[in-house]
Symmetry: D2
Subunit: 292 residues, 4 copies
């Protein structure tokens, strides 16, 4: 059959790593999930001929993550992602580009007697910080000291937020399929996923992440929302305004509806007080916000 | 066939409720998942004869939760559970006992400019606070003002904690099935589930819960662990010591292993630094700790 | 603090095993998840003193599962559970009793050209077959050839079934909290979990399981249901009638509601045709059915 | 801040529908999860100005699914997706394009006495059939009778398959990061996700889906695999060869490793018999296969 190989990728996903940094007065704890994807011309023949010459086993990618984690400080997931991606391009001349995506799982120090404990931690929840690094053999991205061009993304996922007021939804189409009443005061709950790209790979990744996250949260909290779309746009716009190093941002904000309970059969009135929590169906709102 | 009905129960689970309390200067947010179980002789005939006389539809239980939530302050999940359970016993003379279990999902105020926002919240994570109330028509439990005996439980689930040191595991059986080395310094990570019973239903539920949770965390953090079992026991023991209103406690602490990465093939040495995060298999440790 | 250790247990959960049996003309595939719990007086001191003398590391339990799986035929999960539980009681004189619970994950042969393939398989879905064996040092259960008493349970979980008719729900309490209309024809959908005990450990486990499962399914399909409770009872009753080796059975059947879509605003009529699929809230119905 | 709206979309996800078709001799059961996305210039102003003029509420999209499901036969998810997408473009002149994605959840008739029951069903498992339809106001795709161009995709997800032999993995890079031994006989287990596009929207969707699925399964089962990549490629190639109506196909096959148990410490030998079942980390292999 006259078929051909189109876009393809291979790699290793869900490599889970815990690293403890043993400082004199306290330990630091880092927990990451790493995903690696490699591209390169020789990998085509695994698909087309079952010829694995040049193929780096995904098990070896996994080993590499743990081995490199030993000597790298992992001060930020971004720096470690960059280090890993660069490693693959430097080590294997036939690797055209490497992408490393990292999820960092948050831990907070347990408070004991009002003070943070030096070696005991509790999970900070489901929210995930993301970092992504792509290093190529050539291309138009800013170059690393090693000479290879690199592009960087960062983001967060599962940031579950809710505002109890300052959210309206009016003016939409009313026709034979419409039963939703207009409202000038509803709950807005959403599970924010945001991803942004940096203009270059030389920045204080933790400061940039903290700034973006704080800006997203502050804008969400203070927003007088006329639509989830508007809130989303203003959140993205605020991140671009807050940090010139952020090139663009993509945000997804599914609308996790809180449905007013119908008190009519019970001779009571809904007073923006008691809602049914639902997961589905959910509104799906997403957009990229870019610099002009 | 000569068969008979043994122990049975019916009710409604996963009733999800969001309540907003609109105070002058801020809103308060409560999110609960409610489970209800009713017992009573007439319910037997639904099983044995399909005769639903006296059966309270589980859909009506659901309605009841939302209707009662409107007028109840829900200052604590415990108080609301008690209120709901009592409601069923008072309202339906043929209900012998009612059990209400509530999970409270935590929300924290979003910080804006260093101050907690009055109407915007972020999820506090996966951890769940539990409250359970059983109200019976008769029995030996302490009685409510209404005259009905009530028993109360409280607890938490999904409290994911980790300590990077002060955990040893030595002295266990070494035989032909043993490959685990002894260790005097390992990571101890676990997902604590704890449930305790109160001696009576007249206490400050939030203060009691906070005390128990803080005691569990502090003991976990400070413990010099010779076995997960020992840490678990001492955590339960500390809760009993801290609060005479707690009658007994049950704790489950699955061992979420962090496995030392084997650096041998790479000519490096494991230095309690780089671990493989795993979910399975997991050690399963649980126990009740009781007063003498 | 004058506290004491109450009921406690320890063991290993989620030990996942794939075994291939290489027969001359085909391979057989078995996939199990094994959970092990051990009891014994010496284990108390791990809790109370951090003294692990006599403790069998849960990691060694894991090793034992794989090592014993090599030589055991694993013709049924029940036989392997029994073998494992007996192993722990025989091998360790201080083990008072051992419980092994096994979930078997189903695989079907892929059909190629109308014939089952000898070495390729597709998952049979989420449904899980369960087997449980408890072997004690003493007790009143029937004894194994080794002389140790044993008790056996079996069951299934995640058997998701739905009938489109022959399900009514009428005659229940109508009061101020009731909005659910009576119906003589609704969808009944449920996720059956059933567990039963055997009278003795010497039976054809696969035949007994297949008989119980087929009986549950047939009774569910043919039942003229007046309540989920009644369907559940009749399903359990039928299993007891079909197999004298089954001592009793416990069934849980959460009501996974299909809610009639309200066509009124659209000038159409619901004709038992279009339903909203929901997961929550769900009715919770469970019962044990026993021999007289 | 000089920012602008980039690519954006909005819609409703996870609309869950159960439809019963009441034929004289039996019922037919269809269960779908529907996702809808609409595009159009007026929707921009919701983002940029909170102006919802022209916005079709996602709640109205949900209503539309149920209302249209009543009169449509839903003989295939593809036909219903096309019908829904076309509806939005026809009904709302300002909608530029509509995309509808449907997941169909399989149900099999329960066998009673060897015959399929007319009104009782059991879940066919986790595997999901997918259909996607995009209808635009203009574009180069083949046109529907209504004159609107349409593009169609189909696929499946969660097709969990395993072959116990005929899978090798040799010849890959051996360097300082490599510990994986070469093997000429291993288990290959994967959770296939495949999506393909059709050349035009006028075909027997069910026959085309069944042909593609059977071809994927047959090729997987019979393949002498030198790499997961090769098996994937040959599966896609076979689908293109089997159906000229399929334009291209994308397949993702994560490698769900079965890891040989290390019997060395136990003086036994691994004989391709006992494996550890793992979920993570997993190899990630994906590719598009296209016509020349």
């Amino acid at each position: 059959v006259p078929s051909k190989l189109g876009p393809h990728s291979y790699g290793k996903s869900r490599i889970r790593l815990t690293k403890v940094k043993r400082l004199p007065d306290r330990h630091e704890l880092v927990e990451l999930t790493v995903n690696i994807t490699l591209h390169g011309a020789p990998f085509r023949r695994s698909y087309t001929h079952g010829d694995n010459t040049g193929l780096i086993a995904t098990d070896s990618m996994r080993n590499t993550v743990y081995v490199l984690a030993k000597d790298h400080p992992i001060d930020s997931p971004d720096a470690f992602a960059l280090h890993l991606a660069e490693h693959f391009v430097i080590t294997y001349p036939h690797v055209q580009s490497a992408h490393v995506g990292i999820e960092q799982h948050g831990w907070r120090r347990i408070e004991v007697g009002g003070a943070p404990h030096p070696t005991a931690f509790a999970s900070a929840g489901n929210e995930v910080r993301r970092a992504g690094a792509s290093v190529s053999r050539d291309g138009h991205f800013p170059r690393l000291p090693s000479g290879f061009p690199a592009s960087l993304t960062a983001g967060l996922d599962n940031l579950l937020v809710l505002k109890t007021t300052d959210s309206a939804f009016t003016g939409f189409v009313r026709d034979e399929y419409t039963t939703l009443p207009e409202t000038t005061d509803r709950i807005l709950a959403t599970n924010v996923a945001a991803g942004w790209t940096y203009n270059h790979p030389r920045l204080d990744f933790n400061a940039a992440f903290d700034r973006a996250r704080a800006t997203l949260l502050t804008t969400f909290a203070n927003h007088k929302s006329l639509a989830v779309q508007q809130t989303l746009y203003d959140m993205g716009d605020a991140v671009l305004a807050a940090d010139p190093d952020v090139f663009d941002i993509h945000i997804r904000m599914p609308n996790k509806h809180r449905v007013p309970f119908n008190f009519e059969p019970f001779n009571k009135e809904f007073a923006n007080d008691v809602y049914i929590t639902t997961d589905e169906p959910s509104g799906e709102i997403s957009a990229s916000i870019q610099r002009e």
